[in-house]
């Protein structure tokens, strides 16, 4: 039980030119096995053309407790969205 294979997070890039997206996790003893297992577990139906595997212990994550401090300041800065600025009907290409 002490010898459990480490956990890896798996990211797949689909064929459509989008960025790698987190799809789940798996256990593997080493990087090669992580890629091979990811291929079997997460790409059985042409889900992707590229795999990233990252040791879960290497992922740095924000904590739910910091959610307000991190993300709330953006709420009041609605001028960051183009719709904040009303444009005259007559003016085009803006």
């Amino acid at each position: 039980m002490a010898n459990e294979w480490p956990l890896w997070e798996v990211f797949i890039r689909s064929q459509h030119g989008l960025a790698h997206k987190h799809v789940g996790s798996l256990h593997a003893a080493d990087p090669e096995m992580a890629i091979r297992n990811a291929r079997d577990v997460y790409t059985r139906r042409n889900e992707g053309v590229s795999i990233w595997a990252v040791r879960s212990s290497d992922v740095v994550a924000s904590s739910p407790g910091d959610k307000e401090a991190l993300f709330e300041p953006a709420n009041s800065k609605i001028y960051r969205h183009p719709t904040f600025f009303p444009m005259p009907e007559e003016v085009k290409h803006l």
Binding site: W5, A29, D40, R44, S63
Partner: protein
């Protein structure tokens, strides 16, 4: 279902007044359909219940490979064999997605495996029945996977993010399983009298255990209210069972085979099929370990785990050796 009679560890659902501030905030998020994520605060009972439910679901996927594996070498054609292997590989995948979801709740994979092998954790009652003929592979895909889909589609909306996301992936893949099963049943029912009899025999043996998969009647279901309040159970056992019967009976009619239930009949007033009484003593016996295959299934899993121990250890030793060489270089 794939997770049956999951113990919530609570005797009654707490009212607002009995809840702590944290519990109230948690319940409010669930009521507002905001997903709970692994690092969010959650009541200990919610966490434990989900570990039981998700791991039971995962174990069911893994043990569920065994009855089907029984027919890989005897599939009637190379095409059927390739399809069956793909289906079994999917089941392994589904088990792995679910184990990963459970691990986010703070239990290790090895602990879950140990709990399955010690008998502490359960898997679905349905996998304790034998696959006696090729037609059983058809009946499993059609009925067992059909029943699973019925339960899993609502679970895509369940309150725990990793479980809901695993369910979305699984549901996408599961309808292939149901169709391949029905396709086998179609071939048999269009075949010789002997083949049609095989299809009927498989239906006779799998129908009642499939209905039992949904779990005991709502009136006797102790933990459903809490699970429903937490949105880890979306529809009740009886609702799901009724939906399953309503959708499956016309499919059997098309095949020209009949459910082994003399009381089955359409009720135009209720707009549902009425069906006969389920033998719940059989269900309870299977859960207790006295089904036709319980001992065999568990022994097979334990043997596979024990026989593979040296491979797991060797892979870790190899990885450690290579890592240490890299450090030197």
């Amino acid at each position: 279902m794939y997770a049956q009679m999951v113990d919530t560890g609570v005797r009654s659902v707490k009212g607002q007044a009995e809840m702590t501030t944290e519990e109230r905030a948690f319940q409010a998020r669930i009521d507002a359909d905001i997903r709970i994520e692994p690092k969010d605060w959650m009541p200990e009972a919610y966490r434990r219940t989900l570990i039981r439910q998700v791991s039971q679901h995962a174990h069911s996927e893994i043990v569920g490979m065994l009855p089907e594996g029984n027919w890989v070498t005897r599939a009637p054609s190379l095409k059927r064999k390739a399809i069956l292997m793909a289906k079994i590989q999917d089941e392994a995948g589904h088990g792995l997605y679910l184990y990963s979801a459970a691990e986010t709740l703070g239990i290790t994979r090895d602990q879950m495996v140990a709990d399955l092998h010690s008998g502490k954790a359960k898997y679905s009652s349905i996998f304790n029945y034998p696959t006696l003929s090729w037609a059983d592979i058809g009946a499993i895909g059609w009925l067992v996977d059909g029943a699973a889909i019925m339960n899993q589609i609502p679970l895509c909306r369940c309150s725990f993010g990793p479980y809901a996301r695993a369910m979305v992936r699984i549901c996408k893949e599961e309808s292939f399983h149901q169709r391949q099963g029905y396709d086998i049943m179609l071939s048999l029912s269009r075949g010789t009298a002997e083949q049609k009899a095989m299809a009927q025999d498989a239906l006779n043996r799998w129908w009642w255990p499939s209905l039992m998969m949904f779990g005991p009647p709502d009136a006797e279901s102790v933990h459903s209210a809490q699970s429903a309040a937490w949105k880890i159970k979306i529809l009740s056992n009886d609702e799901l069972r009724q939906r399953f019967v309503d959708q499956t009976v016309p499919q059997a009619d098309y095949l020209g085979i009949t459910m082994p239930d003399p009381d089955l009949q359409w009720n135009p007033e209720r707009n549902h099929y009425e069906f006969g009484a389920i033998d719940w003593s059989e269900f309870m016996e299977v859960l207790k370990g006295n089904g036709p295959c319980n001992r065999d299934r568990l022994a097979t899993r334990v043997k596979a785990w024990d026989d593979g121990a040296w491979v797991r250890d060797a892979a870790m030793a190899h990885a450690a050796k290579r890592a240490s060489r890299q450090q030197v270089a």
